[in-house]
Symmetry: C2
Subunit: 367 residues, 2 copies
């Protein structure tokens, strides 16, 4: 039985989304259990809460406080020690739950998760990773999406290692390719940090420890040129949200064009099955649920504005990750990459011969 801890108070809509989504999740996953964490009085006001409370696979855990969307990290971390977010994460630390899901304040979630769970060996900063659909018919994993706004080359390098570990674990890809997000494909482009990160990645790639494709540009995320795109959290967050904004605008345009007059409305009826198939294909709610990588426990971040459908997708994602033992698989791959991370941190990526000296060749991508 896999148990997921749910921060029921998080997100723009709180329990009005998390309670019905949790109920739907339990109904469709007979092997799953939930720990629902929240303020009892607020939860009780939700129509579907009684069904959830009496559900044999749901435990409700009281938390007296709530981290708000604009709480500074210090407040969330130091002053709200009994927040629903923190109690949910603590369930993972204590082994009660195998993963936690929250739609709350990203900065606070990251800080609390890091404080409670700690990072994996060799990882300075956890990162947020998500999958975006690409034109090649697959998904591109992008990280970081907002956990780290000022990154050094070492951090970007660690993101590449974590992203490779994630994709090789979930997609069973032996050697997933990594692209460094830049404003041009040429190695001479970009800031000093980007150039140095490129050097670290190239060096690791030359020694066979990582499959570094080179620089990629914003459009390559959706082209599906590489499996993993690495960037700092500010850039990743803006790119992700700009894409969501554009997708939503395009959806609005399609609707407007088909509603223009009686002829276009008839066209809409004829095209309805096609439009529905298309809509499902680009529905960003399907991709909800980003992994917080680099921690000693599984935590998933739902979009703050997630609706019931989207939040349930995040629960599914956490469940699949826990069921597939993602944490151990990522941890194992990051342990394999330890010499690589240590060398990168000292400013010198290992060359092939140095890696070989460690007894047996332990490249990240062929564990």
């Amino acid at each position: 039985m896999i148990r997921i801890a749910v921060d029921a108070m998080g997100g723009d809509f709180g329990p009005s989304v998390t309670v019905p989504a949790s109920l739907a999740f339990l109904e469709s996953h007979p092997e799953a259990a939930l720990v629902l964490v929240g303020q009892p009085a607020v939860l009780a006001a939700q129509p579907q809460f009684s069904a959830l409370q009496s559900h044999p696979r749901c435990e409700v855990l009281a938390a007296t406080e709530v981290v708000t969307m604009d709480d500074p990290i210090e407040v969330a971390l130091r002053r709200k020690k009994d927040s629903s977010m923190r109690v949910a994460i603590t369930q993972v630390k204590d082994g009660v739950a195998q993963a936690a899901v929250s739609a709350g304040n990203t900065g606070a979630l990251m800080a609390i998760a890091r404080y409670v769970l700690k990072t994996l060996e060799g990882i300075d900063r956890p990162a947020i990773a998500t999958q975006l659909p690409n034109a090649a018919g697959g998904a591109t994993t992008v990280l970081d999406l907002g956990a780290n706004i000022d990154c050094t080359e070492d951090h970007l390098f660690q993101f590449a290692v974590m992203g490779s570990a994630l994709v090789s674990a979930i997609a069973n890809k032996a050697s997933p390719s990594v692209g460094l997000l830049n404003i041009g494909e040429e190695a001479i482009k970009g800031s000093e940090v980007i150039k140095k990160a490129g050097e670290l990645l190239r060096s690791a790639s030359n020694s066979g420890d990582l499959n570094f494709h080179g620089n990629v540009e914003g459009n390559d995320i959706f082209k599906g040129v590489v499996d993993i795109v690495v960037c700092d959290g500010f850039v990743g967050n803006v790119a992700l949200k700009a894409s969501e904004g554009l997708a939503s605008m395009i959806g609005g345009f399609i609707k407007a064009e088909f509603s223009r007059n009686i002829l276009t409305k008839i066209a809409a009826i004829v095209a309805y099955p096609v439009l529905t198939a298309f809509k499902n294909r680009v529905d960003h709610r399907r991709y909800n649920g980003a992994a917080l990588l680099g921690l000693r426990g599984l935590v998933f971040k739902s979009h703050g504005s997630a609706d019931i459908f989207a939040f349930e997708r995040a629960l599914n994602r956490a469940y699949d990750a826990a069921r597939n033992n993602l944490l151990d698989r990522v941890r194992e791959r990051i342990a394999h990459a330890a010499p690589l991370l240590a060398k990168a941190a000292t400013g010198q990526a290992p060359v092939a011969s140095e890696t070989a000296q460690s007894g047996e060749p332990t490249p990240l991508i062929h564990p």
Copy 2:
């Protein structure tokens, strides 16, 4: 007669795009003239070149060198002094042409334009600005899009002033609103540079010199929350290209869904006029032609991968800007903002009373 200087060698496709686009532009603009700059032998190989060469409103100017897409800036600037790019920009400096257009290497274009034309008073770094369609039915002006990868708060502040000047000049908006691109709407979010830029902008807004809306997120670009979105060039470039990539993927998905079987193909025929209208509405080629702002001359950058239609749009844009005397209007508004820029540069934005002391109130947004 407005004369536009064209770098005929720039872009991924060079003269095979610039020559036919120039010819089409001249045919549709009876009041316009062109100076086409390029390597005579390469130009002569283009089928439509003879028509252009013999056109009464086109002058062909020889340049012996070409700046390639991966030339380092130093090479473009110091070693290729007779490049088509540089010769085209020099036409603007010499008053032969009223604007220059190039689809070449962005970094080189910016460096050469800055070297040849110099920046306007109070502007440290020129910026690249473009307009993107938004869901509100208008356009959002975004800058910088790649000219400046590491920006200080002063640079971001200057971008806000330049963007305001551009929009008030081209859209005749007295008080265009400015948003600072961030990873959250709250003032506490973002890097130190972003926070400081926010303070400068808020201070200028409090004194009525600028209409600062506050922080905006990536999705707000396409929502149309503000008239102008300000960001550093790395972030802007990634956001723009990610959006292009997504739009192109969505276009591909629509095509795929409508080509799936005989029924969907019939639906496509019925929906054809609607799909065409939609396609025109989101066609990013229509938005080609970004302004290099902050220079003592008009320079427009076309997308490197522009096709004939897109390059012609960039020529149109340069022509409209020159015809509407954009340079003088932007220069005038930036001159009005001089006290503001000077104060921002010394780390202290003017307060209302200080602005009033300068003799007459000269807010940027009500010239």
